[in-house]
């Protein structure tokens, strides 16, 4: 990884330490009546290590600035490398955050084929079959164990039909 990127990460961690010191510890620890000694100690440690990390990154930058420039221009674009992963993350986030409202079966039925296509599935039907079969298997197992997956309209319909 490039020293410049290492430095940016170190500075980001230092910014988090400042936020923790000025806002999180007073509002989320002290205000709740809890002792702030241990959180302050950990925050101090993190700030110290981040500072050491930043200084080492700066040292590396001075050591090999030419090499870093030479690497530039050969890399594929950000979206080429991370586009698929970012899309998968977004879809996963929507799936998990929407599950409370939509229920497990419906959200997973939509998620699995979409995720399979993001992973590059060339088949049209296999992802749809996976999306249909897998949630129903989990539903069946949970039902047999007298437990419940997150409930939604499909679960309500199935319960109505099966009970």
């Amino acid at each position: 990884m490039k020293p410049r990127k290492e430095l940016a990460i170190a500075l980001g961690i230092l910014a988090f330490c400042a936020l923790n010191l000025l806002y999180f510890i007073p509002a989320q620890v002290a205000a709740e009546g809890s002792s702030t000694t241990y959180p302050h100690l950990l925050n101090g440690m993190l700030a110290f290590f981040a500072l050491a990390y930043a200084l080492e990154a700066v040292r590396q930058m001075w050591k090999s600035p030419a090499g870093e420039r030479a690497e530039a221009g050969e890399k594929p674009s950000f979206l080429d490398v991370y586009g698929r992963t970012l899309l998968l993350m977004a879809v996963t986030g929507v799936w998990l955050f929407a599950m409370e409202a939509t229920g497990f079966i419906l959200s997973t039925f939509i998620f699995l084929p979409v995720a399979a296509y993001i992973f590059g599935s060339r088949s049209r039907w296999k992802p749809l079959v996976l999306g249909l079969v897998m949630p129903l298997i989990f539903y069946g197992v949970f039902r047999a164990l007298h437990s419940q997956l997150p409930q939604g309209p499909v679960e309500a319909l199935l319960s109505h039909l099966l009970d």
Binding site: M1, K5, E6, I9, I13, F24, Q28, V29, E32, G33, S34, S35, Y38, P39, L42, N43, M45, L46, F49, A50, A52, Y53, E56, A57, Q60, V81, R84, T85, L88, M89, T92, G93, L96, F97, M99, E100, T108, F111, L112, A115, A116, Y117, I118, F119, G120, S121, R122, S123, K126, P127, L130, M134, P135, F138, F142, L145, S147, Q148, L149, P150
Partner: protein, 518 residues
């Protein structure tokens, strides 16, 4: 010594049942399949099984997990041998010689060599665990809060000493540990029951669940990383057709005699490195390979299919499995991610591993030891040998684009079934993204997880020690044991910084490749 044999006998009676043997077979089979799939580690298989152990008998659950771990540890070498893709990071060292051997048509020889080396390494390590754990546990019972806190600090600093190849990696290791300790602070203060960092969410009062954290950081982040490699996975799936050469019994015996010295050395080296916190199987495998290469004569064929290049790393990385449990069963401190998963399995069963458990319920701990010994043999003879060919066929047909979404659905069900709480699914996603970002930027996950698990124990013992000492730090330097451990912690830190500053490489001049670190 007599007590060990009596307890072993009791453990055998307690553990030796058809159902536990079945658990080993099932666990080993799951481990072999998971370990053979590139991108799915042995620990990932354990993590996926973990939430489903809630309703199982303690030893059945533990046998299942140990089987999965040992099966996965071996199975990484199957794809490493057949298609030069290490199924697990530790199999990368094996691939250096097993793939060239397989290219010559000696696939069966390479796969069997890896299997027998795994069994020998695992068995030697199991015996060391059985005979060193009881006396260490007796010593551990004498430790007070100050000593335990100092021991945890030493464990956490020791984890970092072998991370990476530069000073940047050392500082990143410390940041990982501190972030793990910070994550463990979330929830109710374990001494005053006041809230910390809960941001108004009552669901966070009991802290971040352990199983959720492990699945998110190891499994979900791995799926995100595999998503980047998806094209590569599709391309690399092709198997080359090479005419197989049969592996005869005289040749087996000849190989055994030829590799014996390396097998024994690597087994002991792997056991020793495995008992130290945080080193892990990957580094151990490369160290063992480096040692075997260093001690070989000049006319060796390392890198071109030398049998010692398969036997040494396989014996070493499998020896880690049992010896990494030594800190767990003697001190209650998990020294590796696999041991951390075992720690979780014990907690799910309502037991806290450590010296007290060994004293109060020796049949469970010795039962575990017996199952460990059995796992290597049952796994090798009943599962691994027949499964080698099943796995090969399975890998040919595996569709990664369906497999990884399926793994995600299993993870979500596993996380949800821990407490049936939808809030945990959101937390799972956030931690998965955090794990991905950490791994992409070179921050190691194992120290983070170890710190997350050890954080509450460290805080509780430090505060108890301070209460005993009336708020004074004197309690830490009046105890000789605590003082020695603190000096060791500082010394290991100074040594690590000095070593990295000099740019030293791993033992044997063979560093762990960047793509196999996590």
């Amino acid at each position: 010594m007599g007590d060990i044999f009596i307890n072993l006998w009791q453990g055998t009676i307690y553990a030796f049942s058809p159902i536990n043997l079945l658990a080993i077979v099932i666990g080993y089979a799951i481990g072999v399949i998971a370990g053979a799939i590139p991108g799915v580690m042995a620990v990932t298989a354990m993590v996926l099984i973990l939430p489903f152990t809630f309703t199982l008998e303690p030893l059945f659950a533990i046998a299942l997990l140990m089987g999965a771990y040992k099966g996965g540890a071996y199975a990484g070498s199957i794809t490493a041998t057949l298609v030069n893709i290490p199924g697990t990071p530790e199999a990368a060292a094996t691939a250096l010689d097993s793939y060239p051997m397989s290219q010559r048509g000696e696939q069966q020889r390479a796969l069997e060599l890896a299997l027998w080396a795994s069994v020998i390494g695992g068995t030697i390590s199991n015996l060391l665990l059985i005979f060193t754990a009881p006396p260490l546990a007796e010593v551990a019972l004498l430790l007070g809060p100050a000593e335990i806190a100092a021991l945890i600090l030493f464990s956490l600093t020791a984890v970092i000493t072998l991370l990476g190849d530069s000073l940047l990696d050392i500082w990143k290791g410390f940041i990982s540990i501190t972030l793990g300790l910070m994550l463990a602070v979330i929830g109710l203060d374990n001494m005053s029951a006041t809230r910390r960092y809960v941001f108004g969410f009552e669901d966070l009062d009991s802290g971040v669940p352990f199983v959720l954290c492990i699945i998110a950081l190891l499994a979900l982040s791995e799926v995100f990383i595999q998503c980047e490699r998806v094209r590569q996975l599709h391309i690399e799936q092709g198997f080359k057709g090479v005419k197989p050469i049969p592996y005869t019994w005289p040749q087996r015996w000849k190989d055994f005699k030829f590799c014996l010295k390396d097998l024994i050395r690597s087994s002991f080296l792997g056991s020793l490195l495995g008992a130290l916190p945080g080193i892990g199987a990957t580094t151990t495998a490369f160290v063992c390979y480096g040692e075997a290469r260093r001690s070989a004569k000049k006319d060796n064929r390392f890198g071109q299919g030398d049998p010692r290049g398969i036997a040494a790393p396989e014996a070493g990385n499998n020896a880690v499995a049992a010896s990494s449990l030594i800190p767990l069963v003697t001190l209650g401190i998990p020294g590796s991610v696999a041991a951390a998963v075992m720690y979780g399995a014990f907690m799910i069963q309502g037991m806290i591993p450590g010296p007290m458990l060994m004293q109060e319920r020796p049949e469970v701990i010795y039962g575990l030891f017996v199952l460990l010994v059995l796992t290597d043999f049952i796994g090798a003879f009943m599962v691994a040998l027949p499964f080698i060919y099943v796995v090969r066929r399975l890998l040919r047909r595996l569709d990664f684009s369906l497999f990884f979404p399926g793994v995600m659905a299993c993870c979500v069900v596993g996380v949800y079934s821990e407490e049936f709480n939808v809030f945990h699914l959101r937390l799972f996603f956030i931690l998965g993204v955090l794990g991905y970002l950490m791994r992409k930027n070179g921050f190691s996950i194992p120290p983070f997880i170890l710190a997350f698990i050890l954080g509450p124990i460290l805080e509780r013992n430090t505060r108890t020690a301070l209460l005993i000492g009336g708020g004074s730090l004197e309690v830490f330097y009046t105890s000789k044991v605590a003082m020695i451990l603190l000096i060791l912690a500082v010394a290991s830190l100074v040594w690590a910084l000095w070593r990295k500053a000099r740019g030293a490489e791993s033992a044997g001049g063979l560093a762990v490749p960047e793509e196999f670190k996590h």
